[in-house]
């Protein structure tokens, strides 16, 4: 069954006709061609597909696309400003070498953003707790934690 949903995506309101069984991840990558959001495990465990729904992190691979109707979605593409400048969290990730293969980075950055929006000066423990849903198989997390700390101005 096809249905029309309307929602705000990276600041623009969009209307799209979708099959009702699509996940948000399929909608973003396959229909809207936003390839920044990654598919890792596909089961809500690795966090590579993390996007923000009304400012809160969700695993888009297990979120029915139908649920975003009337809501606000932010993907990694929505983090840069109008001139294409990187978000301060992204800059910190680059500066601290928190990116190796890069597959976890979009999700990791968005989890960091949600964390800092809620808690602007997190402790290291709070940072680790905040990104616990994002697996990184390269960095050992140390640089990521440092980058988030730096982005919070600490």
């Amino acid at each position: 069954m096809k249905q029309i949903i309307k929602f705000s995506l990276n600041g623009e309101s969009i209307e799209v006709e979708i099959e009702s069984h699509l996940t948000l991840l399929q909608l973003l990558r396959d229909k809207l061609e936003l390839k920044g959001t990654k598919e890792g495990c596909g089961m809500g465990e690795c966090g590579a597909c993390t996007v923000l729904l009304d400012g809160k992190t969700v695993n888009s691979c297990i979120l029915p696309a139908m649920e975003v109707h009337g809501r606000t979605v932010t993907t990694i593409e929505g983090l840069t400003d109008a001139q294409g400048n990187l978000h301060p969290i992204q800059k910190a990730f680059v500066e601290y070498g928190a990116v190796q293969c890069g597959f976890c980075s979009p999700g990791m950055v968005l989890s960091a953003k949600a964390l800092l929006d809620e808690n602007p000066k997190p402790t290291e423990e709070e940072i680790r707790h905040g990104i616990a849903g994002n697996l990184c198989r390269c960095t050992g997390y140390l640089q990521i934690v440092q980058a988030i700390k730096a982005a919070s101005g600490q």
């Binding site: 249905q3 069984h21 996940t23 992190t57 297990i62 029915p64 616990a132």
Partner: protein
């Protein structure tokens, strides 16, 4: 992934009508963190999903001595609720341990108990808190205790057409503390090897050795000191997850403590009884002997944590972390 239709009723009535109309072909979906995974793993194959997310008012937490939790309350909301953290701490612990932030932002408490995994994080806290589950279908409402609610792994008392409408936790005795511990192989996104919840109601809220509670002193030393205080355990509940086919209460262990003066030996004895009563299995996550041994350790520790929360309520709102 299998194709399905997705319906989003606006009221509970509408949802009940749809659910009874489509019967076996339809499944309810709350946060979907279990349902969508099960569809992807092909352990569930509904033709229709009925989403409860469009119904307003199901995500309320209400407190006036007793607590009412709407079925669509997320684990994140529970974890963040000051009321639940202070008064029903074991439940806040469990919500904080569950999955990851991403999962907790969408996964709901009713979803957690309806999936009825033996490992469900919120199950043992709800057991020690004496929760009741209000269930509704098109024709009638009924309320069952959380003990009756779980029937087996993945099985509940819910009949086709029934929806969990509310969770109710009755007013607790004064000087009550509770705590949940999730024994897991990694510190996030894991299923527990064991879930242990304890609730204790004491006859006093001040004890002479309360300063020792936050120290690194061994539990037995602290408890030994406590004996001088003559603390009587007025009520106790101990619940274990992944220690039997369903989350379950160690009533024999509870009976050893109820009405008695707390001591190191007595807690040891009760923890031992809980371990003996349990029926853990060998699984890929851990072996039965290890689970049994850890029941002994964790029941005692969670009892300590509960006491700590009575005498120092402001000191310990978060569960212990090892990082």
């Amino acid at each position: 992934m299998k194709k399905f239709d997705y319906l989003k009723p606006k009221t509970l009535e509408e949802a009940l009508i749809l659910f009874s109309k489509y019967g076996e072909k339809a499944k309810l979906i709350a946060g979907g963190t279990d349902v969508i995974v099960m569809i992807k793993q092909k352990t569930m194959a509904p033709d229709i999903l009925i989403s409860l997310q469009g119904i307003s008012g199901l995500d309320q937490i209400k407190f006036n001595g007793s607590l009412s939790i709407g079925p669509m309350v997320t684990h994140r909301a529970i974890e963040r609720s000051e009321i639940i953290r202070k008064n029903f701490s074991a439940l806040a612990d469990a919500a904080d341990y569950l999955g990851s932030v991403q999962i907790r932002n969408v996964a709901t408490i009713a979803g957690n108990i309806c999936t009825a995994a033996p490992s469900a994080d919120t199950a043992t806290p709800l057991l020690v808190l004496g929760a009741r589950v209000k269930i509704k279908n098109l024709k009638k409402e009924r309320t069952v205790s959380i003990e009756e609610f779980f029937k087996g792994p993945g099985e509940t008392v819910l009949e086709p057409g029934e929806i969990v409408q509310e969770l109710l936790i009755p007013k607790l005795l004064p000087n009550t503390g509770s705590a949940y511990y999730k024994l897991q192989r990694r510190l996030a996104l894991d299923l527990p090897l064991l879930g242990v919840s304890v609730l204790l109601s004491l006859d006093k809220d001040k004890i002479a050795c309360s300063d020792m509670l936050c120290t690194a002193s061994p539990i037995s030393t602290i408890l030994h000191k406590m004996e001088e205080d003559n603390i009587v355990c007025k009520e106790v509940r101990i619940a274990l997850g992944v220690a039997a086919p369903t989350p379950w209460r160690a009533v024999k262990a509870e009976a050893l403590l109820r009405g008695k003066e707390l001591s190191d030996e007595l807690l040891e004895e009760a923890a031992e009884a809980a371990a003996t009563e349990a029926q853990p299995r060998d699984t890929i996550r851990g072996e039965a002997w290890y689970r049994r041994d850890m029941i002994k350790v964790m029941v005692k520790r969670m009892a300590m944590k509960s006491i700590e929360r009575v005498v120092q309520p402001e000191a310990t709102v978060f569960p212990e972390r090892l990082w």
